[in-house]
Amino acid sequence: MNSLALFLTVFLACAVEAVEALTIVLAAGLTREWRSTFQGMAAALVVLAAAVAVIGPALTLLPLTGMRLAVGGLLAVFGLQWLRKAILRASGYKDLHDEAAIYTRQVAAAQVATGGGQRGVRDWYAFTLAFKGVLLEGLEVVFIALTFGANQQNLGLAAAGAAVAVVVVAGVGVAVRAPLSRVPENTMKFAVGVMLTSFGVFWGAEGAGASWPGNDAALLAIVPATALVALGYTALLRRARATRRAGVPSVERSAA
């Protein structure tokens, strides 16, 4: 279960971030210039690889208990952030993540931006757009892959999950040459939020010294319980929103 969950979580998180990075890369490449876009992408990948090369081995040297406390706490906080956004989106309080709309905005900005090159790059705008997009989306992937891989003491599997997701998304992106707006990104983010929070809670409590009933099998209860809580909050917020929009105060409804 843990290895499968590790692979799926990293794969899903990485796929979501790769879809977002692809939108930015396509906007830069199709609107401006491909060579500078690829240079920006390559520079970001070098920075990300350096981060993995430095942080990855360092994480494996830390004592497992201390790492689980620190990483579990960080993942729980990070997961809460994902889950909060996913619930707000699913309940209608926040706009859904729309790759087509983001692509349109990026293209519009890229079309009016001034050109010009420097430091061996023909189009500096395309370079920085691709660099920032890939680096920022990639950092989340690196964070998730390293923390999951180190905690499970299986960095190879985490790296495989990330690599497969990047290859799949890049392959589909090359094939369709358009933002992947049909990918159920919001549902995937919801699932990743559930997994990050669940593993964060599991490792955080273990790192603090607690023992889960059933040891690792506790995850079989924590993951569905987290999903149920998140779905419950989503249903509550949807109902509250519908009530508010109908113009009937909830106090009057409960009094009736």
């Binding site: 906080v77 952030q81 909060r84 707000l88 790192g207 917020l237």
Partner: protein, 69 residues
């Protein structure tokens, strides 16, 4: 240099903690309390962090949606 450090810190704050620092504070407090209960009071408080996370999520969502239609 100071500006760079500030921007670096702001990036990581936004990256890990995001819009609502209270969730992070609740998680940190729950971890400390779990450690205290386990190591000082010998209570296997595995239930504390999940309960705190559920409460923090509900609190954060309530704050985020309170003023919105």
């Amino acid at each position: 240099m100071t500006r760079w450090l500030r921007a670096f810190g702001a990036f990581w704050y936004d990256f890990v903690i995001g819009d609502d620092w209270r969730g992070a504070a609740v998680v940190a407090l729950a971890l400390v309390m779990t450690a205290v209960l386990v190591h000082v009071a010998s209570v296997n408080a595995w239930w504390l962090l999940p309960a705190a996370v559920i409460a923090a999520l509900g609190w954060s969502l309530r704050r985020a949606t309170a003023a919105k239609p």
